[in-house]
């Protein structure tokens, strides 16, 4: 760990527990002016909590020290903007229908009393000054909705800067919380260039990113959080992506994804033909028994509706879904009867009854199998459930425990166990590892792999590109609701999927025939 500099942000012995659950453990972190510092870590590793402490929303446990620009501050931080702290969240909280100047000024109350006069000229001048200072090209009177995404992020940053200046801060600590998550690659590159410009002008920037290559390219140094501990701070020039991933996960990535077996049969488990609905049109694909097919795309490109269309719970406008030989109707029960199972992406809303027990959530689709002699055989159900929870590595394996008391990963294992028990021919997984910690993620991947090895045709609908690249035999990329590419295993790279999902390789027609199987080797 580097020596305290007393110039930028310096955290010492920062711990935080909620109730008795430790979330951050003795974090020491230094951030220098002029530096872009990356912060990476899995879901639940404590990144958000750390940001909330710096933003004054939480107080750390006693014994923590925070100094900024060489001054020790006490907790909870009040008016962080007056110390030059600005936090930009993924949701920029901009009012799209208003102008740049109006958005920039709003947090500072336009520098006037609530019922004071709004001084349009002054606001516009202030915005124009910031635009010039940051070297941007936009008009203070432009409507925010008309700006490209990267510029919109900059509007949010300008607003934070204006608030700081009005609060009397002379230096700037800028915290960017996953600012590029919703941006295309090109847009995020532009934003990152602008962020580097801010650092060059003397700001200290903490960049929380979810795309490691971005973090590596924009940051001077990065810190890795794992389970609330800061495991390492590294110079980005002296490390590799693989090393950082290992630090984040706690084990090697190679072990993380199970080995891909070649399907032993080419028997088709599911075939979807010309499926259309509100967000997809004319989508066709086939899944073979034992195969794992990935379907991905940028947000809103149709991959979020597709699983529900195949499963029959959302309304199809055209097309057919064939399982085995039979065409199945637009109805959940028909799909289930044909051997289709779905693990929904929104677990809390669509998959589990949170107040119910693990057992009640596990056995619900086949509960009648415990009904014999006119009554529900509860003891048999419990024994079965305890057994299943143990087999699926659910911790704690208490069948009577309320669902809400399990972690996200364990809830997901229970949902998966529910459907795997029905021995489906087709398993549809929508964002199967969302909100799941690294350990559980790994276990889920192995469970999915095993299901495929037993002959189930698996379809993973996921926006997690790394996941589909490492899990799937083939990947379909959707763009604006149509199949933009079908990539075989030898073509699977994250870069390729990103460029296909953004339409940067429109000419590559060899892999663009919908519905044709790319033989994976």
């Amino acid at each position: 760990m580097s020596q305290p500099t007393g110039q930028g942000l310096s955290l010492r012995n920062m711990s935080k527990s909620f109730g008795s659950v430790p979330v951050l453990k003795e974090i020491d972190l230094d951030l220098l002016p002029g530096e872009v510092h990356g912060l990476v870590g899995e879901n639940g590793s404590g990144k958000s909590t750390l940001v909330k402490i710096i933003g004054g929303l939480h107080s750390p446990d006693p014994g923590a020290h925070l100094s900024l620009w060489g001054r020790e501050l006490s907790f909870p931080l009040t008016q962080p903007q007056s110390h030059g702290i600005a936090i930009i969240h993924q949701d920029l909280a901009l009012e799209d229908t208003m102008t740049v100047a109006e958005n920039v000024g709003i947090s500072s109350g336009y520098g006037t009393a609530t019922f004071g006069a709004y001084r349009k000229r002054r606001e516009q001048r202030a915005a124009a000054a910031l635009i010039e200072e940051l070297g941007l090209r936009m008009s203070p009177t432009a409507i925010v909705a008309t700006l490209p995404p990267a510029e919109r992020s900059m509007v949010a940053i300008m607003r934070a800067l204006r608030l700081q200046r009005l609060s009397g801060a002379s230096q700037c600590l800028l915290i960017l919380d996953e600012p590029t998550a919703a941006l295309t690659q090109e847009e995020s590159q532009r934003l990152l260039t602008m962020v580097r410009g801010l650092a060059a002008a003397g700001a200290a920037v903490l960049f929380i990113g979810h795309r490691l290559h971005e973090v590596m390219s924009v940051c001077d140094r990065l810190s890795v959080l794992r389970s609330g501990r800061l495991v390492s701070t590294l110079d980005t020039s002296q490390t590799t992506d693989a090393e950082v991933v290992e630090l984040m996960l706690g084990y090697e990535l190679g072990e993380f994804y199970p080995e891909r077996h070649t399907p032993s049969t080419s028997e088709v488990a599911l075939s979807v033909r010309d499926l259309s609905a509100t967000s997809v049109s004319g989508v066709s694909f086939e899944v073979h028994r034992g195969e794992i097919l990935g379907i991905t795309g940028l947000a809103g490109m149709g991959q979020d509706e597709l699983p529900y269309l195949v499963y029959g719970s959302a309304k199809r406008s055209a097309g057919e879904v064939v399982v085995g030989e039979r065409e199945i109707a637009n109805d959940v029960l028909a799909a289930q009867a044909a051997g289709v199972a779905l693990v929904p992406g929104n677990r809390q809303r669509d998959a589990v009854w949170m107040e119910g027990s693990a057992q009640e959530n596990l056995t619900i689709p086949f509960l009648s199998s415990f009904h014999s002699g006119g009554m529900l055989r509860k003891r048999r159900e419990r024994t079965f459930s305890a057994d299943q929870l143990r087999r699926f590595g659910v911790r704690p394996h208490l069948p009577g425990q309320e669902m809400r008391r399990f972690s996200g990963g364990n809830q997901q294992k229970i949902v998966l166990a529910r459907w795997l028990h029905t021995e489906p021919d087709v398993l549809l997984l929508h964002e199967p590892t969302q909100g799941v910690d690294a350990g559980a993620k790994k276990e889920l991947f192995h469970l999915i792999r095993e299901a495929a090895d037993r002959g189930t045709g698996v379809v993973i609908f996921s926006s997690d590109i790394e996941e589909v690249v490492n899990m799937c035999h083939r990947v379909i990329v959707l763009r604006h609701g149509v199949v933009s590419a079908i990539l075989g295993q030898h073509q699977l790279t994250e870069q390729r999927i990103i460029s296909e999902s953004q339409g940067q390789r429109a000419a590559d027609s060899a892999v663009r025939t919908p519905g044709r199987l790319e033989e994976s080797s």
Binding site: A181, A351, L376, R395, L398, L444, D464, E494
Partner: protein
């Protein structure tokens, strides 16, 4: 039934299956206490009122009279519990009861045999159940509002039908049957208990009862899990209405007359009992034993107060207060359980030295971004 052969996804010392956590006596107590706290008030009622009015409260006559008086509310409470368990509410049951009872009497007046008259009463109840189901399940309106409307409409309908006069033409055989004493209590009391027993069995020992809980807890998840959610809800409304219709016939039989303006008096008590029931035995769940406890707790509480000299107004006051107190209890137990949640998590964390997912709350698919860094 087939069993799958899932091996543990992987095993290592770190992830070896943990033994179930040892539950201390304190934990046990915290678990049990909320479940039995409200039921324990029932014996407490007997102790307190028994001590205050020794010659009146703890007598067979008093207990018998209270049980008889509660036979009708008990049946209605069962009807209400049925729909509540599936996540809906049926406020119309008291209206259905009065309408069915009045119809039975009027059919009899027009020369229908007892059986036919009863069939007409039940048929009307069935019809109301179907109407409720159409508006709530098929059209998708809110059950609270629809059934409140139906309740009011039924009260109006019954008034019109009877000319707001007492219906006194209840078949004699029905009256004899309803008041037939069996082991010291009239048939109507036993029938109420029988309905409760059947419902208890259905709730606890059939998949149907579990399905209702599941769709009451998360309807969308029930649908995606393959439950026939609409059909289940329709069944609850229809069955609840039929129970209410049966109650109307028994009301007519046991009283010998039906007062068309009496529906309001039966509106709140069954609902109070059902909600109070969610704070008993199975917390947060509408269950038969809980409803029974809630019903008798209120009934004996009111009886005791009346024996102490408080008059009629105490009934409404007690019912209303009890409903709000019941809901407060339910919230309190929820908080208490959340306390356990933290406790359980601390133990888990200590055991495994693994952090919980404080930040990993599931997000809707639309905002689904990869939070997993790319290579």
């Amino acid at each position: 039934m087939t069993t799958t052969t899932h091996e543990p996804a992987h095993d290592s010392a770190q992830h070896a299956a943990d033994p179930p956590p040892a539950l201390g006596l304190g934990h046990r107590a915290r678990q049990i206490l909320p479940e039995i706290a409200v039921p324990m008030l029932l014996p407490l009622t007997f102790v307190v009122f028994g001590a205050l009015t020794p010659a009146l409260f703890l007598t067979t006559t008093n207990i018998r009279l209270t049980l008889i008086a509660q036979a009708i509310p008990l049946l209605l409470a069962m009807a209400v519990t049925l729909t509540l368990r599936a996540g809906d509410i049926d406020l119309s049951v008291a209206g259905v009861m009065i309408a069915s009872g009045a119809l039975t009497g009027i059919a009899s007046e027009h020369g229908a045999s007892t059986l036919v008259a009863c069939a007409i009463g039940l048929g009307a109840a069935l019809l109301v159940g179907v109407v409720n189901a159409v508006f709530i399940v098929a059209i998708g309106l809110d059950s609270l509002i629809v059934t409140l409307g139906v309740f009011t409409a039924l009260a109006g309908f019954t008034s019109w039908l009877t000319g707001s006069n007492l219906v006194t033409t209840v078949p004699q055989s029905l009256q004899t049957f309803s008041n037939q004493p069996v082991a010291g209590l009239p048939v109507v009391v036993w029938l109420g208990w029988l309905v409760a027993l059947v419902l208890w069995w259905v709730f606890e020992f059939t998949p149907f009862g579990r399905y209702l809980l599941f769709i009451g807890g998360n309807r969308a998840a029930g649908t995606l899990a393959g439950l026939r959610v609409d059909r289940l809800r329709v069944m609850c409304f229809v069955a609840g209405s039929l129970i209410a219709g049966l109650t109307g016939i028994l009301l007519a039989g046991s009283l010998g007359s039906v007062d068309p303006s009496s529906a309001n008096a039966y509106l709140l008590a069954p609902i109070t009992a059902a909600f109070l029931g969610t704070t008993c035995i199975q917390l947060g769940r509408f269950n038969v034993v809980g409803t029974l406890v809630g019903l008798y707790l209120i009934a004996f509480g009111i009886t005791g107060l009346q024996l102490l000299g408080y008059q009629g107004w105490v009934t409404d006051l007690f019912n209303g207060v009890a409903l709000v107190v019941a809901l407060t209890f339910a919230r309190y137990f929820e908080v208490m359980r959340n306390g356990q949640l933290k406790l359980g998590r601390r133990r888990a964390a200590q055991r495994k030295q693994r952090s919980v997912e404080q930040e990993a709350a599931p997000t809707p698919p639309s905002t689904a971004g990869s939070s997993h860094p790319s290579e």
